[in-house]
Amino acid sequence: MKKRKLKQIIGFSLLRISVSIAIFALFSILYFIVVRGAGVINLEFFTSMPREGMTEGGILPAILGTFYLAIGAILFALPLSVFAAIYLSEYARQGRLIRVIRLGVNNLAGVPSVVFGLFGLAVFVKFFGFGVSIISGALTLGILILPTIIRASEEALLAVPRSFREASLALGATKWQTIRRAVLPSATPGILTGAILGVGRAAGETAPILFTAATFFITRLPSSIFDEVQALPYHIYALMTEGTHPDLQVPIAYGTALILISLVLLINLVAITIRYRIRKEKRW
């Protein structure tokens, strides 16, 4: 008996260590970026253009660029995803078709992000002739986040109790009336959560915009969706790998990383909070 107890103690300790390593990793990343990035950040960092070949100045264009790309991506992806999710949860019957669609969604989710970049390059940049631009990047990111939002929306729709649908149909509502009036209103918070997570994902991705939207250095802010942009994630990468003054660029990279990570975490936090609320309040 003692030996078995001992085994349990050792086993539990190993599990605790696993979690502790994960949490430690998270906090060390946050720690270094916050401590070293905070010193660089001031109002000017947010509001001014980069100067002196990226060794001075702010990162306004990168902030704006990331904003444009993420918003563009969600504007494209959200309607498509919600429509697809409505089909999957409300119309599809078990069978081969739905198996194939699911397989498609799952596999699209597993495609490496750099491959999306190649797709965007060949299709949007070259074939449609949009060039390296906000629109090319946003569409590429939009396709990338499609599966995330489809899944979240589908989950939100499936969480709406069957009894709502039955009550509505039994009152003589058509299927579409039932979806619009009895199902969608209850699923909206969940769909929103998915959309917010999608924005966070799009804002943090680098590889898909490498050849479709991002540029290291621009001297003026983009004025149309066909202009190329700077973006926070790409900016970090570029500061670390291009340019000639690493000593001056690394601090700016820290500041950029701090802003990017705060942005993404804030977005995630909002989504997690909404989801937590939904689960807790589950009023039905």
Binding site: S168, L171, G172, R181, W284
Partner: protein, 251 residues
């Protein structure tokens, strides 16, 4: 006065996949009467009820043969408009299932989907009065339906069904989630409702069936064992199995 059957089933058979759930059910549900369906759990009572307004269509594996005649018209006929059928046949479910909307919007739901714009207020009030809920909610029509008590919620669901002015009301164990007081209220309600509506109610509670119904049908493993005046079923059942069931000698 001639008896008139509002809903008639003929040789009604239903399968869920390979599971033969209803077997040759022949029944006539008389107008302005309460017909109770009783039987042990899993015998197909709910399934039978859901055949009458084609709610079983929602289950992919359903297969049906035979006829369900509503005012003489086969509801499984291709020309039948399911949506219209369901408007004419109201349904109240086992567990109260109000929408997460206000009390008012719950009752108005059926009217709104029919595109009715005028007189909604009057109709909602009328339905709530018919369901004997008006006095309890008249001052708070805008609160969420989910904040009502279970019994109130169930009467709200009845009001919601009544607002559509159905001809038949199907009730699937409407009191099983309620306490005795709330149950008594709903039973009382049935007496007034049957003046205007034809009611078919599934219940597990023998006393309730005896109290509220004019006719009773006993289902066993998907077969209609006996169908007769409630009085006769409870005092003088013809079939041994019915007797065993209503006297509680049944598993």
């Amino acid at each position: 006065m001639v008896k008139r059957d509002k809903v008639v089933t003929k040789n009604l058979n239903l399968w869920f996949g390979d599971n033969h759930v209803l077997k040759d059910v022949d029944i006539g549900i008389e107008e302005n009467k309460v017909t109770a369906v009783i039987g042990p759990s899993g015998c197909g009572k709910s399934t039978f009820l859901r055949c009458l307004n084609r709610m079983n269509d929602l289950i992919d594996t359903t297969r049906i043969t035979g006829k369900v005649l509503f005012d003489g018209e086969d509801v499984y006929n291709n020309r039948m408009d399911v949506v219209d059928l369901r408007r004419r046949v109201g349904m109240v479910f086992q567990k109260p299932n109000p929408f997460p909307k206000s009390v008012f919007e719950n009752v108005a739901y059926g009217l709104r989907i029919q595109g009715i714009r005028y007189g909604i207020h009057e109709k909602v009030e009328k339905a709530l009065r018919s369901a004997v809920l008006w006095d309890e909610v008249k001052n708070r029509l805008n609160i969420s339906a989910l904040s009502l008590s279970g019994g109130q919620q169930q009467r709200l669901c009845i009001a919601r069904a009544l607002a559509c002015e159905p001809e038949v009301i199907l009730m699937d164990e409407p009191c099983s989630a309620l306490d005795p007081t709330a149950t008594a209220k709903i039973e009382e309600l049935l007496f007034t409702l049957k003046e205007r509506y034809t009611i078919c109610i599934v219940t597990h509670n023998m006393q309730q069936a005896a109290r509220v119904s004019d006719y009773a049908a006993f289902l066993l493993l998907g077969e209609l064992v006996e169908f007769n005046d409630t009085n006769k079923i409870f005092t003088n059942p013809k079939d041994k199995r019915t007797e065993d069931y209503i006297t509680g000698r049944f598993g």
